[in-house]
């Protein structure tokens, strides 16, 4: 009973660490990106300053905003908090992973997106509608690709539990599985689309007619905007940690000793920093796509994940 309590306490601590570290990752990406593009870089903790500023600001609401508009930031943040709680960050075998498996995780993202899109339609501006319509189109294509990639992993590990699956990859050692390679590519492409990064969307602009995510939340301000921004930073972190967990889990703690946890924390920090650099390179060399190129991009991701699944069934099970 006592060890169970410790495990739950650790799980709660990990979830808190997760949401606390998310702005840091965003700040790191921002900083590396500025360096890569020869611009003066803000401090790594600039996102914290932004959040603090937004949380203190006085609220301004559009006159047509309904109760739904005011509830959405909390729902979105709640969904992301839950999602963050089930993803193994520094240790596997934590009991919180049982709350939700991979499919529920995808559904948490869908829940957040559903309500964000509704908030976009609430004010009745053309921008909000545009953002909502486009975001739902992109997600309708990204979600099956993501689930297909996730199914490949879960069929390999015969579980949809995130912690157990990570543990399985960890245990089976360095085995080269072609299916994982395809799944990794597909998942990365979906992650880029879902976290509104270049080339699907550009998180840095509010001025283009091509914006997707930003168009939906254009009317938000103050603490509402803070929650939504924080939630999207958590989302970026979740996708990064998922990729790290599934494909490069080495270093993650399997026991709860202090040394193991420290190693796990350091390992995941190093891996995320490296992943952020890759993301920056990707975002710097690629240009944003036209909106109707995005379905082809995501269609390619879906084909890759389908290929991953077929490779798994044909090559790796051999019943």
């Amino acid at each position: 009973m006592d060890s169970e309590l410790t495990a739950w306490a650790l799980a709660a601590a990990q979830a808190l660490l997760f949401i606390a570290a998310a702005p840091l990752l965003a700040g790191w990406v921002q900083r590396v990106k500025c360096h890569a593009q020869n611009r003066a870089a803000p401090a790594v903790w600039q996102p914290y300053r932004n959040l603090a500023k937004l949380l203190r600001k006085k609220m301004l609401l559009a006159e047509n905003a309904s109760w739904l508009f005011r509830a959405v930031p909390y729902i979105v943040f709640g969904a992301m908090l839950l999602a963050a709680a089930v993803v193994p960050l520094i240790a596997v075998n934590l009991p919180s992973a049982a709350i939700a498996d991979m499919i529920v995780l995808v559904a948490f993202f869908a829940l957040a997106r559903f309500f964000t899109a509704l908030a976009g339609l609430d004010i009745g501006t053309a921008f909000g509608g545009m953002g909502a319509s486009r975001e739902m189109m992109v997600s309708a294509l990204a979600e099956p690709a993501m689930l297909m990639a996730v199914f490949t992993l879960s069929m390999t590990a015969s579980t949809t539990n995130l912690s157990v699956a990570t543990g399985y990859v960890l245990q089976s050692g360095l085995v080269l599985r072609p299916s994982f390679l395809f799944a990794l590519l597909a998942l990365t492409m979906v992650a880029v689309a879902e976290t509104s990064r270049v080339p699907v969307d550009n998180p840095a602009t509010h001025l283009e007619l091509t914006m997707l995510h930003e168009a939906m939340i254009l009317e938000y301000g103050g603490r509402h905007l803070a929650l939504i921004e924080w939630a999207s930073q958590i989302k970026l972190m979740i996708y990064s940690v998922l990729i790290v967990d599934f494909f490069f889990p080495w270093g993650i703690a399997t026991g709860f000793s202090a040394a193991a946890l420290a190693v796990g924390a350091l390992a995941v920090a190093a891996k995320l920093m490296l992943l952020a650099v890759i993301l920056v390179v990707w975002e710097t060399v690629l240009a944003k796509m036209r909106l109707f190129r995005v379905p082809q991009f995501l269609g390619f991701a879906f084909m890759l994940s389908l290929l991953a699944m077929l490779t798994h069934v044909v090559l790796e099970t051999g019943g």
């Binding site: 609220m59 501006t125 053309a126 603490r223």
Partner: protein, 681 residues
Amino acid sequence: MSAAGGTPLLLAYAAVASTFLSGAISLFAVRRHPGFLHFGSFLFLFLSGAASIVAGGWTLLGKHTLTGRFALGLPWLDWHLRIDPLSGFFLVLLGTLVVAISLYGPSYTREFARGPAAQPLPPLGVFTALFVLGMQVMLLADDALVFMIFWEMMSLSGYFLVVYQHQHAANRHAAFLYLLLAHVGALVILLSFGVLAAFGGGLTFDQMRAAELTPLWATIAFACAFLGFGTKAGMVPLHVWLPDAHPVAPSHISALMSGAMIKMGIYGIVRVSYDLIGDVRWEWGVVVLVIGTASSLLGVLYALMQHDLKRLLAYHSIENIGIILMGLGLSMIFLGSGHKMLGTLGLIAALYHTLNHALFKGLLFLGAGAVLYRTHAHDLDHMGGLIHRMPLTAFLFLVGCVAISALPPFNGFVSEWLTFQTALQAPVLKNGLLRTTLPIAAALLALTGALAAACFVKAFGIAFLGKPRTRRAARAREVPAGMLVGMALLAALCLLLGVFPTTMIQAMAPITQLLVHEALPSAAAQGWLWLTPISPQVASYSAPFVVAAIVVVFGLGYLFLKRGAAAPRRAYAWDCGFGQLNSRMQYTSSAFSQPIRRVFGGVWKVDEQIDTLASAGPIPRVTSLHYSLHTHDWSWLRCYVPIGRVVLAAANRIGFIQTGNIHTYLKFSFVTLLVFLWIVS
């Protein structure tokens, strides 16, 4: 008879009698006494629904199987009745919807009592009662005769309900199509019972259960039943009647049709294949899975293009029937391959989704009815901003939207999650093709779910959010309390079934024990908090945690952010300096779905027209612009129109025998009689 002394069966009889009284009393609801319909008829309907729930729930939880026998009709053909966990489950489903509409109906039907939409009231009450009566007795039927009589009663009274507002030609057309396909379906069902009765040597279900069928004849019986019941359920491509018929009926009837009537098709498929035939084959499962996947995907894609709210909901019924069929198909594949536990899981997923769909689709149709009641608008583009004028309706409708979009923590998510979990167990199958097909079906289910979410963002966003698009929408007000209570009941059940799935699955165990002699003991092994369908290592989900987390975030947000902060200031949204934003600048429903229409281009036959009117003068300028968009169903154009053409041509060919001369007709009758006598002797 078991120890309970047949009480559940007596309660079921009481429910039937109460429905009958409800119909009888509404005969008196002439124009001067509408109260007979509003109070009398709906009161008895309420009692009937409540009795159905108790009877069904008692049977289900007590694992009873009770039979009854009536010497009615022909002297050598008694009527056999039986209530068992499966029929109990569907009685609960039906009873819940009947209770909800009997709370909702008294206010809603006032519209028909007076004013511009006035209609004679007795037919509405009588046919509603007959419709419910048909479903209730059909669920209790234990022989093919009773089953078919009451199946037909349900179908026929449904016709009169669809055509209730018969002044519109579209309603009459929809009702005719409904009647035609209902009868084609009934004929095929009759063939299926014919095969079973021939092998069993009698019309009772007990004889059919005992029948020893060869695989070929079993497949024929299954195919006929699947076609016939599938027509009623609305599977692709036999769905064409559904999106026409459901929207034109009065809204509480639409709720009953989409919520309960099409589920009777599912009941029929389960009853015939799992219970009467018994020996399920995996090949059938493949067919059911493929048709289910096609139905769900096409249903949601067609729904996305609709701008009539009730028609959009009707297409979603096709989608959800597809999801239920996918569950059934998976169940048959696993059962037929000898994996009993996984087959049970698939069956549970399918039945759970059946109940869930009844609840949220009933809720959504009642919500659409509430909007119709206040704004008289069918078209999404004539609504808008209703969340300010009808906040409670908006909230309840939103619950339905979230539930049907399969988002946690509501009920739609649980059953889809169970379907996913079943499909992911594909690696246990020997057949390599099946191992690949099942995950692809699961991915298509994911696509369906994502598109459904897009569709309900559109439906809720265009109808309830933004600014009012018409004057009627701007003046709408909240509907009467009775209608809200009816909707709130269904919304509360949507949440409860989403948060406590483990308890529900335990309650459903007697059904699977009856049908496949297996329960799902692992599902609840970790207590009510955790849903672990296979084992905690493989997959788990805990909805109470999800609710708790969202509540905690709201609580913390209130404590630390909202409390003590100044009240937010209201201001106009930024209009880019061009002056006031108006309601015409908002996204419309067609605009919202335009990106998806472009991505999935070939699925619809799109008819897009832009008419511009230019002014006279040396330099023509556009003075008016009219945009119209129609999307047509390929299955109608490619299947039904050619069939119709062939039938018409054939009828013309043999038209020459119709001379109009009575002597010729007598001659035909005489020859026919001789031929029959020759066959018989």
